[in-house]
Symmetry: C2
Subunit: 198 residues, 2 copies
């Protein structure tokens, strides 16, 4: 019993989604064809529309439908602060804190030489121009605390050293509500190293 061609192609195509292997892809394809034709055609349309409409903001590189995103265009943001994040998802999380009023630069990735992602792939040349074009007082590095995120932050700090803006890194330490008994040793060690006056 051969799977019909168009079904097989749908299963293969679904595997481009992150975290979707052959089993999940089959399950998704069967679900769409069995129970959710409306959802499937909505998804097809949404994919086409977003591919056609979404581009990168000329200022901060995040996803936008305009030349410059809403946030970069806002007169209410502080242009002297520039926060560097890895992805638009991280930007959304930062905004949800409601404790940051500056602008962003979205790398759309992180340095990862093994995956062929170098300084050019994450647009560090644009970041350098953006950070030094005047008006930026402080660059806040908010990449992840993973090996790649740390390496990226380190690289950017080196790149910007002595170029004008101050460079800071968001703090590591215990999470809010965190209990010392339950936190991992690495985090606790960092919290100790980076202790500050009480």
């Amino acid at each position: 019993m051969r799977t019909p061609d168009s079904l097989e192609e749908l299963i293969q195509a679904l595997r481009c989604l992150p975290g979707v292997g052959p089993k999940s892809a089959s399950r998704m394809a069967f679900h769409l064809l069995q129970r959710d034709h409306a959802g499937a055609s909505r998804l097809a349309t949404a994919l086409g529309d977003s591919l056609a409409r979404i581009r990168h903001c000329a200022r901060c590189n995040t996803f936008t439908e305009a030349e410059v995103c809403e946030l970069c265009a806002s007169p209410r943001r502080d242009p002297s602060l520039l926060c560097v994040v890895e992805s638009p998802g991280d930007l959304v999380m930062m905004e949800q804190t409601q404790s940051y009023g500056g602008l962003y630069f979205v790398l759309m990735g992180r340095l990862s030489p093994l995956d062929g992602i170098g300084p050019r792939e994450i647009h560090l040349d644009r970041l350098l121009r953006r950070a030094t074009e005047g008006g930026v007082r402080e660059v806040i590095l908010a990449t992840n605390f993973t090996v790649e995120g740390e390496a990226t932050a380190h690289y950017i700090a080196e790149m910007l050293a002595g170029k004008g803006p101050g460079v800071t890194r968001i703090a590591r330490g215990l999470p809010v509500g965190g209990e010392i008994e339950h936190v991992d040793a690495g985090t606790l060690a960092q919290a100790l190293i980076e202790r500050r006056p009480a």
Copy 2:
């Protein structure tokens, strides 16, 4: 910061996939727009194509691009055996055993009154016609051993009782290579109840 409309719509549309919540949907959308435009447009095309081409086999109800699927049309299958499965994925698994040479009927679901899935939704009227139209000697119930699968098997067995074909259920018991020490008590109890001459 508002997410651009077409991106927001893509995130919502991805949630029609089973097992995909808001976090995964965002991650998938960002991945497609950041790294895999080719994959996204392939997926859009595959969705459109399969929606347009895939239909249900007039005989066994599985997915096919033809009026009658390859398997039902094959002269090499034994038409006196009819195996009832819940989904096309189950049919594929049955075929992989290479130990069944009969035909199939695919319910495209299971009885689940709480979800509004009754005998009509899983086409039991068609199954009844198919099983009693002559030529079928034995109906093999290969629904899952879940509560719904068992209920469905029970319902079909009742429906077909005295209508002509014999009705059997695939065996429950220890899996091949299974060790008594590690199997769950329910399975072991069933294996004991359904013991057979050695």
